[in-house]
Symmetry: C2
């Protein structure tokens, strides 16, 4: 008898009809002689509605109280799903994060799961019940309610799968799986049958929104096999698994698994910065103090003891970044700086890159052939990212998808 963890997001439980549909699907999995644990997000816009209600009361609500408030969204959806399953004749029980033993640290609004005490969940499974756990939430050792931050439900599901030693963690979403590129941009994009945790991690971080990066990290750490699949059909989706499992696949390994792109990028450049020790640390400490997440960083070759520094932030953080620049530019001794929101990031990801030199070169060539200028470059063992003009992003994705022969056969 397999243990299957299934996760359904907010759009899958947006209203009563959606919840009934999810219940039917969960019931089918149970009927196939599986022990089923279901993780559910809050219904549709519930979380946003609660945030807007809180904003009407305080612009600076304590994070602890925000967690108290937001955790109710998932508590509602698990209760309703349990009712729907009961109505179909299944024994089921809903559990809050606290009841499910999801223990987190005390960092309200973006807690990390420390461990899961799965005693209660296992007891309920032994009673032959379908167990429905509120995603996105947990509890501290001090019995305080916490939330894991946006997208935390994926992490809840994977962590539960790890704790229960589940056979698979099925993440239901509105797409059929993980694709070689965004199918909205590339009509010939191909669904990947399988992908390694590492590759998925890069894709997730690079803008492929199908899985939360954090959840993939946990999956990698505890070797949880994830099945990303559609909640609207029964097609096989994409299996995300460890490298060892991947190596067992006999079919020809692709050098590049997919092309990812991200439009939520802005580029900031400081011109003529005196090249002294401590310049970079002052700059990025000032940004970190404002909780601005910096992605790519480039320092140009110095000329006459001055240099240019470029970095990227999310578009959302650009205004905050400007304020920091105004504060630090005199300290750094820079003449001027520019902020450019009209850029985008395009990346290729593939575990095969490590053993295949020349992949990056092929990427740069393909872009150059079509006169797409590369403004910044960043690489890791299994990905290459470039910053280009944002109006060229669709063209660039198509070019690279074809260049690396990712099109559907």
């Amino acid at each position: 008898m397999a243990i299957i963890v299934q996760k359904f997001g907010g759009s899958s439980v947006a209203d009563a009809e959606c919840i009934k549909r999810v219940a039917k699907r969960v019931g089918e999995t149970y009927d196939q002689n599986n022990k089923v644990v279901v993780v559910v997000s809050a219904m549709g816009d519930t979380t946003d509605d609660l945030i807007s209600l809180a904003k009407q009361i305080s612009q600076d609500a304590p994070k602890r109280e925000m967690d108290m408030l937001l955790a109710t969204g998932e508590q509602q959806s698990v209760a309703l799903l349990a009712m729907a399953l009961h109505d179909l004749g299944y024994q089921s029980v809903s559990l809050t994060g606290q009841q499910a033993g999801i223990l987190t640290d005390q960092v309200h609004s973006k807690s990390k799961i420390l461990r899961i005490d799965s005693t209660r969940v296992e007891e309920e499974l032994k009673l032959d019940r379908i167990v429905i756990v509120a995603g996105f939430q947990g509890v501290t050792e001090e019995n305080e309610i916490t939330t894991l931050g946006r997208g935390g439900s994926d992490t809840s599901a994977v962590a539960l799968a790890a704790a229960l030693n589940a056979d698979i963690c099925e993440i239901f979403t509105d797409v059929d799986g993980v694709f070689t590129a965004d199918p909205r941009l590339v009509p010939t994009a191909r669904k990947l049958a399988a992908i390694s945790h590492d590759e998925m991690l890069e894709l997730a971080s690079l803008g492929a929104l199908v899985l939360q990066p954090r959840s993939v990290e946990v999956a990698k750490q505890f070797d949880v096999k994830i099945h990303v699949r559609s909640s609207f059909n029964y097609h096989q989706g994409t299996i995300v698994q460890g490298v060892e499992e991947m190596n067992k696949i006999m079919e020809k390994e692709m050098v590049v698994s997919g092309v990812a792109h991200d439009l939520n990028v802005a580029k900031v450049t400081l011109f003529d910065v005196p090249d002294q020790p401590g310049t970079a640390s002052k700059l990025f400490r000032a940004l970190a103090d404002e909780r601005i997440n910096v992605d790519m960083i480039i320092q140009s070759q110095q000329r006459n003891d001055i240099t240019d520094i470029s970095f990227t932030v999310t578009k959302d953080d650009l205004e905050k970044t400007k304020l920091v620049m105004e504060k630090v530019k005199d300290v750094l001794g820079t003449k001027d700086y520019s902020c450019d929101p009209d850029v985008a990031k395009i990346s290729i990801v593939g575990a095969g890159m490590i053993t295949n030199p020349g992949v990056a070169a092929r990427m740069f060539e393909a872009l150059a052939e079509h006169e797409i200028n590369i403004e910044m470059i960043a690489t890791s063992e299994i990905k290459v990212s470039c910053i280009i003009r944002s109006d060229l992003i669709k063209k660039a994705v198509l070019i690279l998808h074809e260049a690396f022969e990712l099109d559907e056969q």
Copy 2:
């Protein structure tokens, strides 16, 4: 330093503006050098909205899951009130029923509070925080979320006041206190300065909706002093307290404290029932099995071994009652029965009745003088209730209010 428990109902926290207003009032109490514990209901129509959502999913939802669902309403309002207090500069913390240590039995949807482990609440008070506790909910020994049923927030507040040995439990409502009669019917109705737990219990049970009868029972048992007052002004309301405290009041004790009325009454009469042992038990067992609450019961003097039996139920239960009558009438051997929804109950309540014979007679006389026919009578040590035609209820309330000299001086 006094400990004050304050309870605000759903209409007092219906939206962001209302919540801010409550926060201001709570803050004022804190500023007057008090330790403050606040009990809050769910916002406005939240509970009804959640029930209607559940109904869309299942007509027969498990009560455990309904409790899971409904408990979120209060969790939201306590978090929001904590935010509002924080915004005004007060240290505060919101607690679920579970966190506040409100331990209940396992009867989901109408749990009884077994005891309160007030450790956490007392710790927070020591830290000089305003503690906001979700009303209406608790937790079982098995860590299951329960609700106390409609109006349970009053009970939460009184029970907390008992556990904390609070100086007073203030119940904020939309009226100025407890009146000698419904001020909408009797313009000269007078606000009572004080009333005993017993009298309040009778008034609450007889249709004066200002306090839940259950909460008054707990207050009586643990001798909690309640102050029923308006959330819209700062007038002194009505103190509900023990008989001993009442006896300390030097002003002339009134024989009758108030006139209550209840329109949610229907009368059922079975005619010509053979007068045999077991008749009444068969009838009322059948009603109890359908969870129909019977209030007044009268069996007329028997004639020729047959008798009539009349009883009252709430109007809401009348249809269910008819179905039971159809089932039992042959078993009982009755010829016919009637159902009459056009009745109402009028009652006088007063601790002074015990030592003042003739109060009931005065009531019957007053009604007779104005040709109001009495159809049923029920008495207790401190109340007399009569069933009359419902269209005469307003007139009857005015008559009795005047007859017992309850008018404002």
